[in-house]
Symmetry: C3
Subunit: 407 residues, 3 copies
């Protein structure tokens, strides 16, 4: 018998509507932490070697259900009449020997998933899990005369009865999600710890099961990692950081910041208190400092955006220094335009770059200038008024004020 095939495939039932709760969304599609229960199931089983999924789901939730599984790895059956034939094709193509059937909403821990797919015989605990192991040959033989796939799986399969109730936790109601999600969080964090990630506080790390984290990385308290986020090795993430759908390189620190749908390079520092909005590409060895927003922009290698700056719709080259208070003026009330700051340019503090505008290679912008025209390479743009000192002004003002008060 081919071992890899033993692990190969699973049948997942999305029970239609939960009979007890007044919600229409199946429990398998309700969010636990930041993604549907089914994503947790898919991730745990995938981690343990399951490669092919056969999903039985109501027509209405077909697309949502499909989105819970790795791309191209799931078949969907939503028409009860066609389902037996579809399952027969699925089994013929993807299964030999045992097949797992998840017949009700559950949280499967990573340890639980490993036991489920193990070749060893299952433990004889006494808690029902709703997960069965059926022989694909037996299923194939019975399918032609079967209408109820779920009944077939439970009647011909062997139920997994875990010794330890943290391995698989049935989810019976929406209210249950509150209880199971903390177990789910612990299971995910534990897996990262086993792979060399260090958590200052495993209890306050909120990590989506899809997230990947490299070894040697430290996660500080209050950190939320969501979606398809991938963190490199030897990073420091947190505290109080939220990263959604980002790719972060190696040796990068992200401190008390929020990052969305962007790419951040290696050896880069972000924060504290930075906000990176979607569609940014931040290169290696970059400093994105405090009170900085970056949106829909590129920032090149070794550039610095240290503080109180807005980089929006901009292409910032390598080795650029954007002084404190620099603002890319990307919106004139009617349209949005891009700013370009070329390699080695230096923009002084509190400068405005009124887009569309280009600051050339190695050019300087004087502090306090509002730049509306392009700045040629190696040039200095300056747009500010001469300073006047009105001597003794403060004293006179005090005098005037006291005169006023006297009157």
């Amino acid at each position: 018998m081919d071992t890899s095939c033993k692990k190969g495939s699973a049948i997942i039932f999305f029970s239609g509507e939960d009979p007890e709760e007044p919600v229409s969304l199946p429990l398998m599609l309700q969010p636990m932490l930041f993604c549907p229960v089914a994503v947790w199931v898919a991730q745990a089983l995938t981690d343990a070697g399951v490669e092919h999924f056969f999903v039985v789901c109501h027509e209405k939730y077909k697309e949502k259900a499909l989105a819970c599984f790795p791309d191209g790895k799931a078949w969907i059956a939503s028409d009860p009449k066609e389902a037996p034939g579809q399952l027969a094709s699925f089994l013929a193509e993807n299964a030999k020997g045992p097949v797992l059937a998840v017949t009700q909403p559950v949280l499967i821990s990573y340890a639980g998933a490993r036991q489920l797919t193990s070749e060893e015989s299952w433990p004889a605990g006494d808690a029902a899990s709703g997960i069965f192991r059926a022989d694909s040959g037996t299923l194939l033989g019975s399918l032609p005369q079967t209408e109820d796939l779920l009944a077939l799986c439970t009647s011909t399969g062997e139920q997994y009865l875990p010794m330890d109730e943290t391995l698989v936790i049935p989810i019976l109601s929406g209210f249950d999600l509150n209880r199971t999600q903390s177990a789910g969080r612990r299971s995910v964090v534990r897996r990262h710890m086993e792979r060399g990630v260090y958590f200052t506080d495993p209890e306050t790390a909120y990590i989506d099961p899809r997230v990947q984290i490299g070894s040697g990385t430290t996660v500080l308290p209050g950190t939320i990692l969501r979606g398809g986020t991938v963190i490199g090795n030897d990073c420091e993430i947190g505290p109080n950081t939220m990263i959604t759908n980002c790719k972060v390189g190696d040796g990068t620190s992200v401190n008390a910041s929020q990052l969305n749908d962007s790419t951040v390079g290696s050896q880069t520092t972000v924060g504290p208190f930075a906000y990176i909005r979607p569609n940014c590409t931040i290169a290696d060895h970059v400093k994105i400092g405090d009170f900085v927003e970056v949106k829909n922009s590129m920032v090149g290698t070794r550039s610095k955006v240290p503080h109180l700056t807005y980089v929006g719709d901009a292409d910032v080259g390598d080795r650029v220094n954007l002084g404190c208070g620099t603002i890319t003026v990307n919106y004139d009330g009617q349209i949005k335009s891009r700013s370009v700051v070329k390699d080695g340019a230096f923009v002084g503090c509190n400068a405005n770059l009124v887009a569309p505008v280009t600051v050339g290679e190695g050019a300087y912008v004087a502090a306090g200038s509002t730049v509306t025209d392009n700045v040629p390479a190696e040039s200095l743009a300056i747009a500010r008024s001469q300073q006047t000192n009105k001597l003794n002004w403060a004293n006179k003002r005090k005098k005037n004020k006291s005169q006023k008060t006297e009157r």
Copy 2:
């Protein structure tokens, strides 16, 4: 017997000074999480249907004690000689049948409060709670010849002996508060969960018992809600957000921000990293973005204050756009003045509005301008210098520097 009256009233004893701790404040007035223990007692009993409170308290703490109970719902007795007569009047007016007497500092969970006011007979646990149920008729009959109200309640009443020690937790010392407050937090969060609020992590939500939260709202980790805060339905609050005494509408998100003593409308987004100080009214469909402070101001419907902006002492109309870096200059070192930005105005980036000043309806302020005079409606205010490009300046500077270095 009238059921509603069974639930109707309670006698609360603020024991004077804790004999063991060197503090003068009664334990009932010491803070647990963010408000006195007595507030927790009042909220739990009110939630379970108690409507009238008779509070026995030392003269010195009369006002503080009164402030712990819903407005107009508590009688205070501070003079031991007058107390029996006052209680007689209270009972005659508000009670029939059983009356609850809380004779020592306790934390009462919401589940505990429901059991206390239930018509069913109390459980026969073995842990003393210090809470008694006395018959109001019996009390009334004994009051004329009674000096010690507490002794009367404990001698004629039946003590509540909970089966489960999380239902009512006696607080014996200030140090105990550290233990009971986590139980209190859980009880409050549990009640919100039952009412349809979703918590990413119930263990890191810090919610004052007076706070109200609408169903469908998600509370992310590290969120602190204090005082009389009321959050609407379908909001997203947190992570790492602190809201004190605010009213927030429906469908609003508040992300990594701090809000105090203000009103925020519906479908509005706040943060990440925003700071709303007292006396603000933020309308519906508003965006208060990152690194924005708003203080003592109004911001109208569909206006945007996206980033790095200070709105202080300002009246901002509807559909206004305040560009990045906009600052209302509200203080000249002597007095504070207000800025007015009328409907549909557009203020460019890094602009200063020197109050008192008005930007008219539909008017524009050019980026980088310091506006000291009113801007008429539909006009453009501009106050900035012409840009000059000094060609090849950077190269010359490098040359000068290297010459200097050579010398």
Copy 3:
């Protein structure tokens, strides 16, 4: 027998390499929370009265090991041949009666340390702790014929067998650190609670064992205190605050901010969302507000830096007001220079102070000015353009736009 000497000294063995984990650093030097395990051991024993340490450690880690103990309190023995002679000298100088020997990596709670150094006989639990109590006289007598100090301590000493496994927790592997660190955190927080510090949530306070906190101080959730940080009395620290190696006075609040290697006075407020970088001295009664960065600077008594400001390489006097958006322009792309703002000066919003520059005593800087020359005392510096209002500009622009669209 002299009681103080009973408590006086301890021998600490840094076992070389952990045999099971593929790391070279001894477990005693691996970080738990924010500092090596040995620091936790040193702090707990010091707290319980141990004053002198004899550390046995591989030559390679000599300096790192020494850095874990209070200055001047530890002897290091790294050469096995010389170690017995060194220990003889150490004991002769520092010990009489019992000596503690910590023979393996452990977490010692403060309660555990008190029991270890107590004169009473040790409990007879059944969990091995790896900590022994040997008689210094016996050790001295055996040392001349001993090569293996660890074997000597375990063979002649009495092992501590705690009744409660939270008192001393052996650390057997790097993975164990994840488990012991939460116990360590609790032990530290408990000690602060006993000393009058109030924690909103003891479970989300992350406090280095070296940190000192004054009584009456409240620590809000998500607070990280690291290194040699000293917090005064009656402060409010947090939420979501990280302080490393800082001294903070009395009655100061630090809210949602990060502070490093600096000194902050008394009755000062910092944050929310402030960032104080190394080498700052912030005086008493100062306000460092929201979205403010201070770096390598001094800020004098009663000065205000309320919002959106960068103070870098600056000397700010007493009673100074730095308006919103003030930026010290400390870097011209080649060198960094200092700004000086003297007592009582008032800097208007969005002003740039281009260093090196001095704003004199009582002087004013007009909002929106870029100041490049010194401002004399009591004078007003102004550097900005006249405002022009282009009437009806917005209407014309709309018209032009619609014409364009029509073509």
